[in-house]
C-alpha cells in the first residue's frame, strides 16, 4: 500500500522502456507524472465543491445535494455537464484576447503548483530544490490573470473586484512569504521533500514559533485564494461576483476550478510545511497526507460557515498592522530556539511572541464607540 502509486508508475515506465529509446523513457516518466497531476487537479476540485456544499449544508441545518447519485456523489458530474452545455456569452465591448485568455491562464499556475507538493514518501512530481519559492512565485502570478479578467470584461463590477482582489493579494503575499522564513531556517532547505523529512521527530507546528507561523501562513493563504472571510473580491452582495461577473459556462467553471485547486494547494502546503507532511504511523504516507489536508480544508469550509466577511480597511489593517510585524518578530524567535538549549529554546521564543502579540494587540486596539445612553422623555 505504501508505495502503490510509485509501483504503478514504475510499471508504466518499464512498459514504455520496451518500445521507446532511453531518452523516450526519461520523457515518458516526466509525462506520466504531469498527466497524473493534470488528472488530479480537476478530480480534487469536483469533489471539493460537493464537500463544501455538504459541509455548509450541515452547518446550516440542511441536507445539501442528495438527488444525483447516492449522497449526491454524482452532483459534481451533473454540475460539469450543466456548465459545459451553457451558452457562452461574451460582452460585446470586451477585449477579446484578454477575455478569452484569462480563464485558461488562471488554471495554469493553480495546476503547476501541484508539482512540488509531496503527496507521499517519494511522491513529489518535481522535487525542486527551490520548491517553496516555486510555490509562492507561481501563485503570485495569479494577480496578473485576475487583472486580465477584470479589465478584459469591461464591467465596472469586474474592475472593482479585480482591484480589491489584487490589493488584497499583494498585501497578504508579503506576510505569507515572511511567515515561511522560520521554517526554511529550521529545515535549512527550500525543498518541500526535505522539509517534510526534517519533521520526522517533531512537527514544526508543535513549537511556539512554528505554531504562530502556521496560523499566519494559513490565514494569509485563505486571503490569497479569496476564501471567506476574505472574499471581498467576490462579495456577491456588493459587487455581483467580482472579476468573473461576465463569465459564464465553461469559462466560469475554470475560475471556479482554479479557486478550489488553490484552496487544496494552500492546505496541502500548510500540511507540508508545518504539520509533518506525509509523516504518520501505521497508515500509508499518502493517506496521512490526504487526511491532514482534508482536515484543513474542512476548517476552511468551517470558516465560511461561521465568519462574516471582513471590511476592506479591517482586511488591510490585519495584514499590515498585525500579521506582518508578528511574522517579522517570529524570525528572531525561531533563531533563538535554534541557538538555545532545551528549557530556554521553548520558553524564550514563547516569551518573545507573547510580548509581541500583547504589544501589537494594544496598538491595534480599535476605536470603541461610546456606549449610548438613552433617556426617556419625561
Amino acid at each position: 500500500m505504501e508505495t502503490l502509486f510509485i509501483q504503478i508508475k514504475t510499471l508504466l515506465v518499464n512498459a514504455a522502456a520496451l518500445v521507446l529509446p532511453p531518452w523516450g523513457v526519461t520523457l515518458s516518466s516526466m509525462i506520466i507524472s504531469a498527466l497524473a497531476i493534470l488528472g488530479l487537479g480537476p478530480l480534487i476540485m469536483m469533489y471539493l465543491t460537493l464537500m463544501e456544499r455538504k459541509v455548509l449544508a450541515r452547518m446550516q441545518n440542511r441536507i445539501g445535494p442528495n438527488r444525483a447519485g447516492p449522497w449526491g456523489l454524482l452532483q459534481p458530474l451533473a454540475d460539469g455537464i450543466k456548465m459545459l452545455t451553457k451558452e457562452d456569452i461574451r460582452p460585446s465591448a470586451a477585449d477579446p484576447l484578454l477575455y478569452f485568455l484569462a480563464p485558461i491562464l488562471i488554471a495554469v499556475p493553480a495546476l503547476m503548483v501541484f508539482a512540488v507538493i509531496p503527496f507521499g514518501k517519494g511522491m513529489t512530481a518535481a522535487d525542486l530544490n527551490v520548491g517553496v519559492l516555486y510555490f509562492v512565485a507561481l501563485s503570485s502570478t495569479t494577480t496578473l490573470v485576475i487583472f486580465m479578467a477584470s479589465w478584459g470584461s469591461r464591467n465596472k463590477y469586474s474592475v472593482l473586484g479585480g482591484m480589491r482582489s489584487v490589493s488584497q493579494m499583494i498585501s497578504y503575499e508579503v506576510t505569507l512569504v515572511i511567515s515561511v522564513v522560520p521554517i526554511l531556517m529550521a529545515a535549512g532547505s527550500l525543498s518541500t521533500q526535505t522539509i517534510v523529512e526534517s519533521q520526522s521527530g517533531r512537527w514544526y507546528a508543535a513549537t511556539p514559533w512554528g505554531l504562530l507561523s502556521c496560523m499566519i501562513f494559513f490565514i494569509c493563504g485563505l486571503a490569497e485564494c479569496n476564501r471567506s472571510p476574505f472574499d471581498l473580491p467576490e462579495a456577491e452582495s456588493e459587487i455581483v461576483a467580482g472579476y468573473h461577473t461576465e463569465y459564464s459556462g465553461m469559462r466560469f467553471a475554470l475560475f471556479y476550478m482554479a479557486e478550489f485547486m488553490n484552496v487544496f494547494s494552500i492546505c496541502a502546503l500548510t500540511v507540508t510545511l508545518f504539520l509533518g507532511g506525509w509523516q504518520g504511523p501505521l497508515l500509508p504516507s499518502w493517506l496521512w497526507f490526504l487526511i491532514k489536508t482534508y482536515l484543513l480544508i474542512f476548517i476552511v469550509f468551517w470558516f465560511r460557515g461561521t465568519l462574516p466577511r471582513l471590511r476592506a480597511d479591517h482586511l488591510m489593517g490585519l495584514a499590515w498592522k498585525f500579521l506582518l510585524p508578528l511574522a517579522v518578530m517570529n524570525i528572531p524567535a525561531a533563531a533563538m530556539s535554534h541557538f538555545l538549549s532545551e528549557p530556554f529554546s521553548t520558553a524564550v521564543p514563547l516569551a518573545i511572541l507573547m510580548v509581541s502579540v500583547a504589544v501589537l494587540s494594544f496598538f491595534n486596539k480599535g476605536y470603541a464607540a461610546e456606549k449610548r445612553v438613552y433617556h426617556f422623555t419625561d
Binding site: L133, V136, A137, V166
Partner: protein, 167 residues
Amino acid sequence: MLELIAVKGIYILMVFAAAAAFASSLLPNLFHGALALAAVLLAVAGLYLSLGAEFLAMVQILVYVGAVMTLVIYAVMLTGRLEETVTPSGRIQRAAAGVSCAIFFVLVCGVLLSTNWPAAPGGNPLPSVKDLGIDLMKRHVFPFEVLGILLFAVLIGALAAARREKS
C-alpha cells in the same frame, strides 16, 4: 536527444521573448504592453532556469511578475480609463528612434561578436542557494545593506509622494 529538445526549447523561448519585448514597446494599448512585458519576464525566468539559476528564476517571477508588474498594471488602471487611450508619438520621432536603435544594435552586436570573452575553463560550478546566501552575506554585504537602506528610503518616499494632501 533530450538535450536537443532542450536547446530547441531555449531558442523558441528566446524568439517568443523577443517578440513579446517588441510588443511591449510597440503596442498602442498600455495595458497590453504591460502584459507583454510580463510575458518577457516569465520567458527570461525560463532562460535563467536554462542557465542553472533556479533561485534567481523564482525571485524574478515573485518580485517582477508578482509585484512590480502588478504595481505597474495597477497604475495603468488607475490613471487610464476603461476606453482605449491611445496617443501615438510622431512619425518622425518613431523613425528616428527606430534608426538609432538599429544603429545601436548593430554596433553593440559587432562588439559582442568580436570580443573574446574570458571564459573559465570548463565553465563555473553551479552555485547552490546556500552559496548565494553566503556570498550575499560576506562578499557583497555592503551593497546588500545599502540596498536595504535604499528600499527603506523608497518606501517612505513613495508614501510621501502618493499621499493625498490634507486640505
